[in-house]
Symmetry: D3
Subunit: 64 residues, 6 copies
């Protein structure tokens, strides 16, 4: 039943997402109990232009 | 004043979204009171690659 | 698979929540397809002190 | 440490986002204390087709 | 129409929340346009036990 | 910079939360890169009365 949301910069590959969903799900079940079945992970990719840190946009802080 | 968020797979038409917003709003007002005015519904479409269930990506579980 | 979140003022009864979850779920399925099974609704009750509208706190705008 | 999320219609320029992140961060720190360092702002741009108000889609209420 | 969410540690007074909602709303309108009317701010207070940073709970990192 | 949110039923101990935050953070870094520093995890505990599944409240589906 748990829902896990991950907000991260754009640019991870599908393989990275696949591994992350698997390992984060396992980490949750190992520590909090329950089963993987019914555990959702929703990924939101955020553009550096849409992420601010310390009052500045990440596209300015970390240009590509 | 209430805010309703809907996360769903990509692929619904504008007509489906229009009907959903109308009927979900009506369902809320009918059961919880208040008026439709001021009730917001925000839709987030999620790619199957960005949705994990039971430790697997939905693009693997439900390929198109 | 869809996830619906509802943010609303504190104060609805369990019966209102029960009816709302049922009718909002039905409204979603009727308009967007799929089945109720696997559709989650998560309710967040918000205190008037924690909700601002137009720059003012709702506990000031709508005192009990 | 605080996290601020802003959901708004699509269409703001990068300069508007930059100014908004700066001024919202400053407003938070001025009123709630702490430092800007470590304060995140995440912007989500929402299409008018994905935003409902009063039971209607904003693309119908406010056509471009 | 915009929705702003603020997640922060528990412990701000009502006066701080009132000032924050007012100034954050003004900062948004000044930089992104529109009017304060219809702009919502939703505050979520998070316990240090429910906030992790760098893999550790904030109740361990910053004990009261 | 990534932000991970976990919504789960009430009732986990502080030790479970501590272990979960540690292992979920490590799982993210191992699969997606970056460092644990700056990665936030925010836990939201949800009452069974506030969680619906398949159109029913979890307090009805899974009574204590």
């Amino acid at each position: 039943m748990p829902i896990i949301r991950v907000e991260m910069f754009k640019g991870r590959t599908r393989d990275q997402k696949r591994a992350m969903v698997k390992e984060v799900t396992e980490a949750y079940v190992r520590t909090c109990g329950g089963t993987a079945k019914g555990l959702s992970v929703v990924i939101t990719e955020v553009d550096k232009e849409d992420w601010g840190s310390g009052g500045e946009l990440c596209c300015d802080l970390y240009p590509d």
